[in-house]
Amino acid sequence: MAINKSNKSKFIYTILAWGISGLIFFPILWTLLTSFKTEAEAISASPSLFMFDWTLENYRDVLARSPYFDHFWNSVIISLGSSLLGLLIAIPAAWSMAFVQNKRTKNLLMWMLSTKMLPPVGVLIPIYMLFRDFDLLDTKIGLVIVMTLINLPIMVWMLYTYFREIPNEILEASRMDGANIIDEIFHVLLPIALPGIASTLLLNVILAWNEAFWSLILTAANAAPLTAFIASYSSPEGLFYAKLSAASAMAIVPILILGWFSQKQLVRGLSFGAVK
């Protein structure tokens, strides 16, 4: 009887989970389907889910008009570069906050997070002028710096949370064995916190990949990532829905694949320390 009840609730939860997942995934599915339609079918008043004349015309047009692979490569460099550079800064910062705390640590953490509450447009002009003066406009290195700065508070917070789960005694033992700070971080802390570091890296790659405000403002022809590529197919005066969908699909597929293969790592990292 008890088993039946448990099976029933499991079944309901499974259906619910699939339903919610379907709801979340539907816009992506619709984008993918639209990318295979003609522009006329894309705006049809009675749209069809699968029964339409499938075409690759939009992909052909998009590839012919835009240097997709240049944008893709820029996205890879910017997202990966900023995440790795961010980790280099965030790991020692989080280590000191987790293991060498003082009375201002909590305030410092809150202050770091509060910078995320500032609307980016509020610092648009000063940042733009700094970029202009340092010749960083439309350069990948400029974008790497900005993305690193944007995501640094989240990286430090995430790593701080993971590091707090590691018993201080392990680090003390390594010190007693003669390890210096570098040894302690690289040979003791990092191997233990690897799942957390990996999920921080992955999450920041995704955040940097999807960032649109700064990457649209600070780039032109040379360093524009995939967000700029998508924006070039949107138009308030002219129907480009199918081409826009094809461009969006080409921009999100790489990150979807990355997310799919690393989902275990992401979930493990994000739920690390959530249950005690």
Partner: protein, 436 residues
């Protein structure tokens, strides 16, 4: 020895060519005409092997944000910018643009339509060259009009439009008499309603920059707009912009659509439009006060002051806005695809007139638009569907939100106008108008 010398000379030649070659960066919007320009630009590079082109194509609001930031901070990222008739007078006055004085002797400046050219000229200096121009007009379904027993005049009144829209509406069959912009935004519903308001005798400001939303003319404009769409508009009209209405019209859901003349080419295109052979055109409506409800807009090409390659940039602009470019588009894509609304010669071309059934109405609409004297009563500003002041993007969108709220019934017409009056008064006071 000779071979070695030849190799050295070859290398030197290659090196010198690469040193001399100049790359200009062109920021442009995503629409059919601009894409064609990009496709055909190999003709320009073939004629100017010393200039290479880099393209930055963006959605127009993103482009506007990006180029405004760049031009205001003199960032120098772009050599050619695509900007609208709203920006040109403001930026020209600010000294952010280079005067286009090297377009070449054979450019034929006098061929540019005077209404368009005047909007791009500040202190007798041309700061941008028009790539394509547009006004607004009435597009209607001839078959539905016939079914309703009506005939669309070439110069309809707003009263007739209301009567015709009501007669054409068949909500059960999913056919709505009228489709108009309802989406909030200074370039969306505000463009349409401001142009409409001119024909109702309304104006944004009086001669002393006092907002006029508390006038009876504005009350009449907004009441008409809301009632018309309530009677004969499609559901969810407050979310509809150009594209949504285009989709509705092309799929046979609209009897009348009043919007940009550039739509003429889309709705008559047999590939995309289900009603391509049933579309008629008329001038934007009026109320017999001497002003029609049509607007004037042009996408233009300009050179920012921060560009260090202004000579090359002007060569490109000269090519892209020339009569020769029109002929090139006609040869490669057909006459119907030639960018409209900038040159008188295009409208004297019988081949174009034959290919574009909307050509004559477009020309008349553009010629009748007067951005310097846009309203029945005098105003201190330039612009028909906008007010060419830097503050307009902000206040225009805020007012558009009030109009949109009136359309959805969240506010009454009076509340929407009162609220618009208050917020524009506040913004103008803050910006210290009237400027000394």
């Amino acid at each position: 020895m000779t071979m070695k010398l030849s190799a050295v000379a070859g290398c030197a030649l290659l090196f010198s060519t690469s040193v001399l070659a100049e790359t200009i960066t062109i920021a442009t919007v995503n629409n059919g005409d601009m894409i064609t320009m990009q496709e055909l630009s190999s003709d320009f590079t073939a004629k100017h092997p010393d200039i290479s082109l880099k393209w930055v194509t963006l959605e127009e609001n993103i482009l506007r944000q990006r180029v405004t930031t760049d031009v205001a901070t003199r960032g120098g990222q772009y050599d050619v910018m695509t900007i609208g008739t709203y920006e040109v007078p403001i930026w020209g006055k600010q000294g952010w643009l280079t005067e286009l004085d090297k377009l070449g002797a054979d450019y034929d400046m006098d061929d540019l339509l005077p209404a368009i050219r005047s909007g791009l000229t500040v202190d007798n200096k041309l700061f941008a060259a028009p790539f394509y121009g547009e006004s607004s007009m009435v597009m209607y379904r001839k078959d539905l009009m016939q079914k309703a027993g009506l005939e669309m005049p070439t110069k309809p009144s707003w009263d007739f439009i209301r009567q015709a829209a009501k007669a054409m509406t068949d909500k059960e069959a999913g056919v709505y008499g009228i489709c108009l912009r309802g989406k909030a935004g200074w370039g969306e519903n505000v463009a349409l309603i401001t142009a409409m308001s001119n024909s109702f005798g309304a104006r944004w400001f009086d001669e002393n920059w006092q907002p006029q939303f508390d006038s009876k003319e504005w009350q009449a404009t907004l009441e008409y707009y809301v009632e018309l769409l309530e009677e004969s508009g499609p559901p969810g009209v407050s979310a509809n912009g150009f594209n949504e209405n285009l989709a509705l019209f092309q799929t046979g859901k609209c009897g009348i659509w009043i919007d940009a003349t550039v739509a003429g080419a889309f709705v008559t295109n047999v590939k995309d439009s289900e009603v391509a052979d049933k579309v008629g055109f008329a001038l934007a409506p009026d109320n017999g006060l001497g002003k029609r409800g049509n607007w004037l807009w042009a996408w233009t090409l300009a050179v920012p002051k921060s560009s260090t390659k202004s000579d090359a940039a002007m060569k490109f602009i000269s090519w892209a806005t020339s009569k020769e470019y029109s002929a090139l588009v006609a040869e490669k894509k057909g006459w119907a695809k030639v960018p409209p609304g900038t040159r008188a010669s295009l409208y004297n071309n019988p081949e174009y007139i034959k290919a574009a059934p909307f050509a004559q109405i477009t020309l008349e609409s553009i010629q009748s638009a007067d951005p310097i004297n846009p309203t029945v009563k005098p105003v201190p500003y330039v612009g028909i569907q906008f007010v060419a002041i830097p503050e307009f993007q902000g206040i225009g969108t805020a007012v558009g939100q009030q109009f949109s709220a009136a359309l959805t019934g969240q506010l009454t017409v009076k509340q929407a106008l009162d609220s618009s009056q208050r917020l524009v008064e506040r913004a103008m006071k803050k910006a210290r108008y009237p400027k000394k």
